[in-house]
Homo-oligomer: 172 residues x 2
DNA sequence: AACAACCAGTTGCAAATCGCAATTGGTTGG
DNA sequence: CCAACCAATTGCGATTTGCAACTGGTTGTT
């Protein structure tokens, strides 16, 4: 993760810090799945990231200021990872990326329900979601990680996800 | 460029085809710089891509359907690369990525003027630009590559870019 | 016809990165 | 005391990256 500087173009600089196959996956899981611990991110993701790569990416994301890290008071060994303001402002980008993928790529329905809801919700929903993310990642990261503070939009998104998964299972 | 399939999540699938440091740079140059030939993309980009990597990426982008390739009638050896409809629909994503980078990263002013104009123009400008891209990449790729068919939005963007570059040079 | 400049790539090779599996040193709860 | 869990780290082979040089061919000029 050396600091290159190919050019000062905004798109290039963005790609230099998140233009790889894992960084945005991790941010996605923290953002939409509220995965806040190493073990959570390691095991509960669809894409089966390796532990050394997860460690390297987290270090990288920390170094570029997209996430923050703090001790979990409930468990001296646990660390809580949280999104920073710049990462929260990636919500529209991820929403659009999801929308684009849903339109042009062979997505599976149960995994794209979140993207669909977020796309339909539009900028108004994005703003609401971002505001809630600030509550559980910046204002009260500990409460947010433990589930004591919640995000209604996040609950809606995961509820819809669970429902569609149940429907799919039923038809088997 | 093997075909993985880590998951059917829209964001993941999008990252699997453009989640690297070069694919979107190439699409950016084709889109905003109207670079349509191998040599053009190789030499006129800020980031100095190596020729073997450019060749590999173009092959990859062709295989996933983001660009198309055809012979240049004016030169039997030249090939014209054009954006396909899915790639043109990345305009909002690239606009947002530029906007995000401009806000959070140490961009250079002359290279971010395009991102700023595109951001200020909003969805209305994006649609207009996309419509013009369809003219010069899909409807008449040969005329578009040779400059016989033009995109007014593109001209505005590059004019502003040239003007800012001139202003910067003046102050040296 | 000769020749330089240009065309889209390819090849060889060293360095860096990726990804899997196993392991580390420590903490927690029963 | 011990099994389960915690955030990583290590070893190592496979893959990818990036540089430099080169290939076989075309075009424009003289």
């Amino acid at each position: 993760m050396n600091i290159e500087k190919r050019s000062g173009c905004p798109i290039n600089l963005s790609l230099e810090i998140m233009g790889d196959k894992w960084s945005l996956i991790i941010i996605r899981d923290m953002m939409f799945g509220n995965r806040r611990h190493f073990r959570d991110l390691l095991t509960h993701s669809q894409e089966k990231i390796a532990s050394n790569i997860l460690a390297a990416r987290l270090k990288h994301l920390l170094s570029v200021g997209l996430i923050s890290k703090q001790d979990d008071p409930s468990h001296s060994q646990k660390a809580i990872y949280s999104l920073t303001e710049p990462a929260i402002q990636l919500v529209p980008l991820l929403a659009m990326m999801g929308g684009w993928g849903r339109k042009h790529l062979p997505v599976t329905p149960e995994l794209s329900i979140r993207a669909e809801l977020l796309e339909n919700g539009g900028p108004v929903m994005w703003e609401k979601f971002m505001s809630e993310l600030r509550d559980i990642h910046i204002k009260d990261p500990i409460g947010g990680a433990s589930g004591k503070v919640v995000s209604p939009v996040l609950i809606d998104l995961t509820a819809a996800y669970r429902q569609i998964c149940a429907t799919m299972a039923e038809t088997d």
